[in-house]
């Protein structure tokens, strides 16, 4: 079988139960229809899980690491790896299956995805469960599963060094979990280069359930491209669109942290467990403050001219080395949302969360919920194992983070997320348990930002700020996350044409805006069909009551609150525009045929 240009045409299947690994061919039509990254990952997930309700922590659930067709080529900002699995976090209101959950995906920058392609694969699919803690080393065609007990319980920063040293070759790119993943905290993350994460959606938990501590990969190959000359010409244009521009410099200057102050002013920030949209002390933890007091180095992912990541150092009680942050999400979830304005304290929390291998967003959200419940007297200090979890307290936050990762005392319950906490506490706390389908919301608040509310409720993995605020954005994003390119450079309009030209030159398939979005629509609908099969319905696309009942009391959007009728009407229109049934949310037959998903929806409940 001839290999499609732009691809190796195979994924590496690693079965940790049998210890066997093998190359598995990807059907060429899947490469056309689902591209790579998130899309192809979803198709593989669908193919592997032939029935609904599979326990996400069972050996059967695959953990899939997906680069895309841009990965491993010197395409600007094409560093991303999309990790795909069945979510260990989400669940529907009602379902026939006790382990029903959504798809899950988490998209990470760095160097891992490109290296997977250098090693000769379009993706890694890990299945099964090792008898004891292990790690996998992939060196081109050589794949070894090695015993990893000596790394048990190791935090990610120490592990990053020890593991790299043990491999004896700095060219290996590594991903790994911390204690939280080993302890099966549902919102555990996968960490890369000590400061990058596939944070959302429980990737580290699924990895932990397989007794897999780490994967190391390096390679000397590369896929070919369909039209070499055209690719090089488009690559030149893509570089020109970004290199040295004010746009690129702005990312290097502050990364996403610029939004910490900007969104506070705009009234769209998660503050005080989403009670407010403005943090009066945002400037203390924002990009300007970090640039002045913390950051020493701008860091870029593979072939990226933006360099949005920062490393630095703080002094004093909470002093230490900072691998990353504050970014917008980390700075807000552990800062504004908890009313923490002490920069070194904030950075300590961020650092420890990565070190333990937790998702920054869910962790900050959970602690915000607990702070509010404690303030309201719904839980007392003994519920919190003696931690005085008041707004703005760094020490209490740090103590809570450790408890969650260890699942110790109150941490065992907090590890299950805000929805489980609110069910346990009751007393009306569901109203301010800020989640959708069981996944916590991110750092974008929505009383004054209804479109982002749509993103949260309709996203395939539960509350996701990255899904897209409308149908076109969602389709484009699903496609973009299937290519290996990062979202951040794509705000630059001059990049679009060379980006499409590169994709066409690589794959030999002529991509224009329409095909790009249409392919994304197919991917998004596949995810929807998966979720529908598990039992997710309209009742699951639901925001917590806070957003309809608690108007902001401060800031530029003071008084803002969502209108339930308006929101529901918007949602109904969304389903109709998607070609989905507004009652059940099932994709309609016409849409399914249009997208060529007939074989997938066969036999599925109407």
């Amino acid at each position: 079988m001839s290999v499609k240009p732009g691809y190796h045409g195979v994924v590496l299947n690693i079965d940790l139960s049998t210890g066997r690994s093998e190359k598995v061919a990807v059907p060429p039509e899947d490469l056309d229809r689902f591209v790579g990254g998130q899309g192809l990952g979803m198709k593989i997930l669908w193919d592997r899980l032939k029935k609904p309700g599979v326990d996400p922590l069972s050996p059967e659930n695959p953990l899939i690491f997906m680069p895309g067709p841009f990965s491993g080529l010197p395409v600007p900002s094409s560093s991303r790896t999309c990790v795909v699995t069945k979510s260990p976090i989400t669940s529907p209101v009602e379902s026939d299956y006790p382990h029903a959950s959504t798809v899950s995906y988490s998209n990470m920058g760095g160097f891992f995805g490109p290296e997977v392609r250098f090693a000769g694969y379009d993706g890694l699919v890990v299945t099964g469960k090792a008898p004891e803690l292990c790690y996998v080393v992939i060196d081109d065609g050589r794949v070894e599963i090695r015993e990893g007990k000596r790394f048990k319980g190791m935090r990610t920063d120490a592990f990053d060094r020890a593991f790299q040293d043990s491999l004896g070759d700095r060219r290996f790119k590594t991903v790994y979990i911390g204690p939280a993943g080993e302890n099966l905290v549902p919102y555990a993350s996968i960490i890369h280069t000590a400061g990058r994460a596939a944070g959302r959606g429980g990737m580290g938990c699924v990895m932990g359930s397989k007794n897999l501590k780490a994967i190391a990969v390096k390679g000397s190959g590369q896929p070919g491209v369909a039209d070499h000359q055209r690719f090089l010409a488009a690559l030149e244009k893509a570089r020109s669109a970004l290199y040295g521009t004010a746009y690129a410099k702005s990312w290097a200057e502050q990364g996403t942290a610029r939004a910490i102050v900007a969104n506070s002013h705009a009234g769209t920030e998660a503050v005080r467990n989403y009670r407010e949209g403005t943090f009066l002390e945002a400037d203390k933890i924002g990009g300007d403050a970090a640039r002045r007091d913390v950051w020493v180095k701008d860091i870029a992912c593979y072939c990226c001219p933006l360099a949005c990541k920062k490393s630095g150092m703080t002094r004093g009680k909470y002093g230490g080395i900072i691998h990353d942050g504050p970014e917008y999400e980390t700075g807000v979830m552990l800062g504004s949302n908890l009313l923490i304005s002490d920069m070194p304290g904030l950075l300590k929390a961020i650092t420890i969360i990565d070190d333990l291998g937790l998702d920054q967003i869910s962790t900050g959200n959970v602690i915000g919920f607990l702070m509010e419940a404690y303030e309201k007297g719904l839980i007392n200090r003994s519920f919190l194992d003696g931690i005085d979890l008041t707004w703005g307290s760094v020490d209490a936050t740090l103590a809570m983070i450790e408890k969650i990762a260890a699942k110790e005392g109150v941490g065992a319950l907090a590890a299950e997320g805000v929805r489980a906490l609110s069910w346990h506490i009751g007393k009306g706390s569901e109203k301010f348990a800020i989640q959708v389908k069981g996944l916590e919301l991110a750092a974008h608040n929505i009383q004054a930002n209804q479109p982002r509310g749509l993103s949260y409720v309709t996203a395939s993995r539960g509350a996701c700020h990255m899904s897209g605020d409308n149908i076109a954005m969602q389709n484009r994003r699903a496609m973009l996350d299937s290519t290996g390119m990062c979202f951040f450079p794509t705000f630059e309009p001059a990049l679009e044409e060379p980006m499409l030209a590169m994709l066409s030159a690589i794959t030999g398939r002529e991509y224009d805006k329409t095909l790009f979005e249409k392919t994304g629509e197919r991917i998004f609908n596949l995810e929807k069909l998966f979720n529908y099969r598990e039992g997710f319905r309209r009742a699951d696309d639901r925001l917590p009551d806070r957003f309809f009942e608690d108007p902001f009391t401060i800031g530029s959007k003071k008084g803002s609150v969502l209108d339930r009728g308006q929101f529901d009407a918007m949602l109904t229109q969304y389903y109709k525009d998607r070609g989905w049934d507004p009652e059940t949310t099932r994709p309609g037959e016409a849409k399914i045929r249009e997208l060529g998903l007939d074989s997938i929806s066969e036999g599925m409940q109407k």
Partner: protein, 245 residues
């Protein structure tokens, strides 16, 4: 040479007195030991200003470590240029797997990135270590300095694959010369891309420049681990780091 020295001194003073240094720039300066040398780089003063005394000037790819973000674009560009492909009878740059680059970015924890590239040493310890008898006609050993390009080149037909050059480079200089695992013949020696180094041209952050340097400048000919240790000390206050294998 006096003028060179003058411009160096003046620039240094100007930096020391010029004082709108942010804390970050200050830390970066401290991290680079003397401070002055790097600050020169940061302020865009290159070329002859680097020279301090003594040896003849050599043009090489120089790194401003404070500006390097570790993106590896230099590696991809180097590999693409130095491993071209033939498409429809035309030689074109390859797709650039960084594995085959002559410049290599070494990544450490805490975050320090050290691009390492041939130091173009005027005293050529690698060439001196080559045990192949000089050709009576050209005077060249298997490894030799190409007088036209000033780069170090290897004649694979005469090379024994004994790895002596790589050992000399590793013990005395950057350690950039890497023996091919199968043949033992040296690889990763910078070609300067015929006078237009693609790593310099493609670096998105202006961290690389193609300039004349002298061997007594800061970090000349040091291995990546030594450079990383010193940078980490200045930037993060620690000399302990991982990934040092």
């Amino acid at each position: 040479m006096e003028s060179t020295l003058d411009s160096h001194t003046k620039s240094t003073d100007c930096v020391r007195d010029g004082m709108n240094l942010t804390r970050r720039e200050f830390i970066k300066g401290v991290g680079l030991g003397g401070g002055a040398v790097v600050l020169l780089g940061q302020f865009g003063i290159h070329g002859a200003a680097w020279a301090l005394s003594g040896d003849p000037l050599l043009k090489m790819v120089l790194v401003d470590y404070a500006k390097c973000t570790g993106c590896q674009t230099c590696e991809a560009a180097c590999s693409a240029q130095n491993r071209p492909v033939t498409v429809a009878g035309r030689e074109l740059p390859g797709l650039g797997n960084p594995r085959f680059a002559n410049i290599r970015v070494h990544r450490f924890n805490p975050d320090v990135d050290v691009p390492s590239v041939c130091a173009m040493c005027s005293d050529t310890p690698c060439v001196k270590a080559c045990p192949v008898d000089p050709d009576p006609r050209t005077g060249r050993r298997a490894l030799y300095r190409d007088q036209a390009t000033r780069t170090i080149r290897n004649d694979p037909g005469r090379c024994l694959g004994c790895r002596s050059c790589a050992r000399a480079c590793a013990t005395e200089r950057t350690g950039v010369i890497t023996p091919n695992p199968a043949t033992g013949k040296p690889e990763r020696i910078c070609t300067l891309c015929g006078g237009d180094p693609q790593c310099v041209r493609r670096c998105p952050f202006g961290a690389l420049s193609f300039v004349e340097v002298r061997r007594d400048r800061k970090f000349y000919g040091l291995g990546p681990e030594q450079i990383a240790a010193e940078l980490a000390k200045g930037w993060y206050g620690t000399a302990e780091f991982g990934g040092a294998q």
